[in-house]
Symmetry: C2
Subunit: 344 residues, 2 copies
Amino acid sequence: MQDIDKKTKIQKKAGINQTIFLKNQPKIIGSYAIVGPKEGKGNFAPYFDYIMKNDFFGEKTFEKAERKMLETAITGVIQNAKLQPKDIDLMIAGDLLNQIISSSYAARAFQFPFLGLYGACSTMAESLAVGSVLIDGGFFQNIVCCTGSHFSTAERQYRFPLELGNQRPPTSQWTVTGAGASVVSLQGDGPRITAVTFGKVVDWGINDVNNMGGAMAPAARDTLLAHLKNTKTKPDDYDLIVTGDLGKLGSEILIDLMEDEGVTLGLNYGDCGQMYYRREQKTLCGASGAGCCATVFNSYIMKKLKEGEYKKILFLPTGALLSTTSSQQGDTIPCVCHGIQIER
Amino acid sequence: MQDIDKKTKIQKKAGINQTIFLKNQPKIIGSYAIVGPKEGKGNFAPYFDYIMKNDFFGEKTFEKAERKMLETAITGVIQNAKLQPKDIDLMIAGDLLNQIISSSYAARAFQFPFLGLYGACSTMAESLAVGSVLIDGGFFQNIVCCTGSHFSTAERQYRFPLELGNQRPPTSQWTVTGAGASVVSLQGDGPRITAVTFGKVVDWGINDVNNMGGAMAPAARDTLLAHLKNTKTKPDDYDLIVTGDLGKLGSEILIDLMEDEGVTLGLNYGDCGQMYYRREQKTLCGASGAGCCATVFNSYIMKKLKEGEYKKILFLPTGALLSTTSSQQGDTIPCVCHGIQIER
């Protein structure tokens, strides 16, 4: 009790509420990323653990392929962490499909206690945030955090039947086919999660479902400002500040919004969605989907952290919390962003 | 670090993995339940805080009414806990609608950091489980945990257009229109959450979407057996063991399944769904929906805990983690159940 009062006091002093400082600094001891063929031709291709030959991955439906990707990522990350399935105490996962079926069915395949989340494309950060806090509190030893998305399941659930061959507006992004997983642990070796900022729901009134980047940028701004304030850091203190899938337009909007607040985002700022595909892959504003930053984080970023190229990063995935129903009923798009500070 | 190692060791000894013992025993310092008119004529009517006059609650769509119920429950529970909105550090919520829009839009109305969950009808337990563990670890002071459901939104999303007036099979249940919320806190006065069992995903192969009780009973069995084993308790040690919405059939199946394991559930066992409506309300197997156990827990059960009639209870809401897509693709129904042990 005394210990807790002390910790709470420290957090209050830092102007907390939103940012949690992790005293025991949970480690990310394993990572794994599996992607589809299009993603396997993108800029991060050399870093992925597994590139599928086609979008069906041996299954009869895209939905079952998405589930199998998640299962593959979970199996892969446990091996990468040099653990056995019996060592895993909890699985925290979510995805974009209605009722997060990909995650629930993947959880059925393993005998792990299961926490299902929904944070849209911010899910990788949401699961790492909850997972690292639960590890830091000493409640669990090893937690698998994962998420994923599939272009074809997302397209037909959120937008149009694939067969329609619909035209895409210039602000649209391409949902990544891929899944990423991390193992967070108290013991072992790996980059340490040192602070977590839980995001608020931010909605600046955008209702164009083909401009997710524009809708989500204000949420990234809100969490980034809170994190910098609560941790008393500035952008230059990080080797990398990386948002999830704001895309080309959204990431430019974020740079402008931060500039308005007197915070300059320099060359150490990047967006997974903006960087994901090559120009000739014709994805317009870049990549999106829960699998976007999940696969970049669990391949490229983790590698650079392990190699020491990055010593301190801030991972800021955003999520657009709308549904087809809310859009049809004329609602604007509420968004969220969680921040994960990771140090080597 | 030393403190954590000690705690982890204690848990390992208890045969843990699934059950977390909460050393600091977070308290439930506030509760609130709002329901629709049909629910306001049911067995728990005298205990609810607010009974709506009609299902629209002054809104143009049922979805917006569901959202407004959640917002009302959150405002109500903060008052009930004698707190101000600024005292709330985190909101943990989920619901049955695609992309949990009711919770996300409700979170937009408040400036709380937000964790969105999906656990279907187990969401009240999932949010209390995560919330109480985060409080116990000293990370937050006051957390709002809430969920809800609406008959009309659930019916048209999961089953048929309301206008169709479809016949309901005898095993079907009636989705509760209602929302419940709790405030979990380190300080203050109220029933204490002393242990939490995180559920695994259990699927015994039921694919009848009109028999959720039958599908979910094995998940309740799994978590109840784990909880009794890990806490070294027997059913008689609890004044109440209460499942969420197994309904008439599902709760009878659970009694049988437990009997097979040599565990007799006596008169201290009940199911919120089975007890919710009066016989003449023609709901067949009883109530269901995330709002079912959320409204019973945050009214009737909390009152009996506060008055001392219940000294120790085990709250075991179950959730069926299917979607219309998974059913259409021939999948069976994966289910989950989380256990919350509460003592006066």
